[in-house]
Amino acid sequence: MTTPEAGAAASAEAGSSPAHETILRGEALVRRYGGVPVASVDRIEVRSGEVLALLGPNGAGKSTLLRILAGLERPDAGRLVFRGREVRARDAELRRASACVFQRPYLWSGRVRDNVEFGLKARGVAPEERRRRTQAILDLLGIAALADAPVSTLSGGEARRVALARALVLEPQVLFLDEPTADLDVSIHRRFIEDVERAVRRSRRAVLLVTHLAPEAFALGDRIAVMECGRIVQEGTPEEIFEMPATEFAASFTGAEFLLRGRVRHAEGETVWVDLDTGGSLEARGRVATGAAVRVAYRPEDVVITVSGVEARSSARNRFEMRIAAARAYGSFVRLRLTGPGLTLVALITRHAMEDLGLRVSSIVTAQVKATALHTFETF
C-alpha cells in the first residue's frame, strides 16, 4: 500500500539521479486565511527536468501553495529553499529564475509582442536578443502571425498561448503553471496541452503544474502530488497514483483510465501490438504507426478476473497469469493491483466477487482484457 510516507520515500530514491536535482523545496509550509489553514504541507520538492503536477479539487489550496513556492506570497510558517539557500517571499533571485502562468491570461494592453517581451525587459535583456527570443517562442507555439496583433483581438485560446509564450520566453529554471487551461474549449484544450508538453519536454527545466484535471496531470506529470483540504495526501509517479490511490478521494479523483507505456511493434488497421516498457506485450486498438511511443489506456472494470485453471468464456487475446500484489476496498468495490509477466494491471471487482472467488493478496489469477478495451494514444 502506498502511504504518503512511502510515496515520499519512493520519490526520494528517484531524486538521487543528478538530472533530477532538487531546485526548490518547501518545508513545513503553512498558510492561513483568517486563521483557517488553507495550505499545510510538510515537504514539497520541485526538481529540474521534471514536471510535478499538483492535482486536487478546487479549494484544495493548490494555487496558494504555488504562489508561496513562486515567492509571490508569504507563508505564515515554514521554509522555502531555492538552490540550497533559504529564501523569503519576493526573493529577487527566485522570482528572476522563475515564471508563472495563471488561470487567466492577464495580458496587458498592447501588442502580443509587447506582452511576450515584458519579462525580458524586466530582466534588462538587450533589444536585439529580446526580438530573437520572442520570435523563436512565437514560432514554437504557432502564433508568430499574431506578433503585432493587439491583444484585444485575440481569442481565448490565443490569449492562453500568449500567456504561455510570455513565461516560456524567459527560459525559467522553474516554470509555474496554475490551471493554464481553465475554461478552454475541449477542442483547444487538447492542442494546448500538447503545446505545453512540447515546450516543457524540450528543456530540462523544472515545472510545477497545478490542475484539477486528472488527465492533464497524468499527461504532463512525471510525479503527481494529490492535494486535498490543504494537505498533500499522496505523492508518486502517475503509475503509482493510478494503481493505488492512497485515499478514496484520490481514487475517485484519478479517473477511470489507467495507463501503460510502450512502443508499437506492429500495426495492422486499427489493431496494434504494443511492447510495454515494463517488458510485457499487448494487443490493443488505435491508429498509430509501427515504432511510435504510445500510452495504452484501459479501465480497471474491463479487466476480467478468473481463478487460474478455470476456463473463462471470453474472446480476449490478452490473457495473463498474474498475482494479486495489493488489494484495497472502496465501498462495495475492491481495487486489485496485479503483477504478471512484464506488466502491472489494476482491476476493479466487487467485494462480493472477491469473496466468492476466495481471492486474497498473493492469490494467482488469470486476468483478461479485450483488445477493444485497450486504447492506444501516441505520446510526444
Partner: protein, 235 residues
C-alpha cells in the same frame, strides 16, 4: 424669441470675426484650467492609486474622503484660497491674490478630486492579479504597480478631462481669488457674469458657446477613451 435669435446671431458673428476680447478671455480660461488639470493629474493619480491599493476598510474611508472633494462648493474653495493668500494669511507674502496663479491653485483644489476619484475607480477595476502576474514574470513591485496604473490610463484620462471640465466651468472660486481683472484674471465664466449684468447678452452668449464647445470636446475625449478600453483581455 427675437431676443434669443438676435443674441445667437450676434454671438456667432463675434466668434467668427475673431473678436479679440472674446478669444483672449477664452485662451486665458484654457490656460488656467489646463494648468489646474495638470496639477490635478500630478497629485490626483498617486492619491487615487494609493487609496485603490489600501485594504478594504481603509479604502472605503479613503474613497469617501476623495469623493467628498467632488462636492466642494467652488465659492467655499474660493474663500479658503482667498484667506490662504490674503495679506494676513499664511501665504500672504507670496502676493499671489488676484493673479492667475491663485486661480490655478483654487481650480486645482476643485479638479484634483475628480482625477483622484476616477483614478481610484479605474485602478480598482484592474484585477490585482495582473500585478501578481507581472511579479510572477520577474517584474519589481514598482514595475508591476506601474503596469496596473497604466492599464487604468483610460480612466485617468477621463478623470483629467472631468477635472478640467469642472475647473473651466466654475465661477465662484475664480471670481473670489482672481478678481475678474480685464486681460489679467478675467476668464470665460467671470466674463459671462459681468457681460450679462451689463446687458451685453451677445458677448456673454459668445463666451457661453465657446465654453459649451470646450465641454463637448472634453466629453468626446472621455467617451472615446472609455469606449476604446478593451476589458476582456484581463480575464
Amino acid at each position: 424669441m427675437d431676443l434669443f435669435r438676435d443674441t445667437f446671431r450676434e454671438a456667432a458673428v463675434l466668434i467668427a470675426s475673431g473678436d479679440l476680447y472674446t478669444w483672449r478671455t477664452a485662451l486665458l480660461s484654457l490656460r488656467i484650467s489646463a494648468a489646474a488639470a495638470i496639477l490635478g493629474f500630478i497629485v490626483g493619480v498617486p492619491v487615487g492609486t494609493a487609496v485603490a491599493l489600501w485594504g478594504p476598510r481603509a479604502r472605503t474611508w479613503g474613497a469617501a474622503f476623495v469623493n467628498t472633494g467632488l462636492a466642494f462648493p467652488p465659492v467655499v474653495v474660493g474663500l479658503f484660497v482667498y484667506m490662504l493668500l490674503s495679506r494676513r494669511g499664511p501665504l500672504g507674502e507670496l502676493e499671489l491674490l488676484f493673479t492667475p496663479a491663485a486661480m490655478i491653485l483654487a481650480q486645482f483644489i476643485l479638479a484634483g478630486p475628480y482625477v483622484a476619484a476616477i483614478t481610484l475607480a479605474g485602478v480598482q477595476q484592474v484585477p490585482a492579479d495582473l500585478r501578481l502576474q507581472a511579479m510572477g514574470l520577474g517584474a519589481s513591485r514598482w514595475r508591476a504597480l506601474w503596469l496596473q496604473v497604466r492599464e487604468a490610463r483610460g480612466a485617468i484620462l477621463a478623470g483629467v478631462a472631468a477635472g478640467f471640465g469642472a475647473a473651466i466651468s466654475e465661477v465662484g472660486a475664480v471670481m473670489i481669488v482672481g478678481g475678474n481683472i480685464l486681460e489679467e484674471t478675467r476668464v470665460l465664466t467671470t466674463a459671462i457674469v459681468l457681460e450679462t449684468r451689463r446687458g451685453q447678452f451677445a458677448r456673454a452668449m459668445a463666451m457661453g458657446l465657446i465654453l459649451l464647445a470646450i465641454a463637448f470636446a472634453v466629453n468626446v475625449a472621455i467617451a472615446h477613451w472609455q469606449q476604446r478600453q478593451p476589458r476582456r483581455i484581463w480575464t
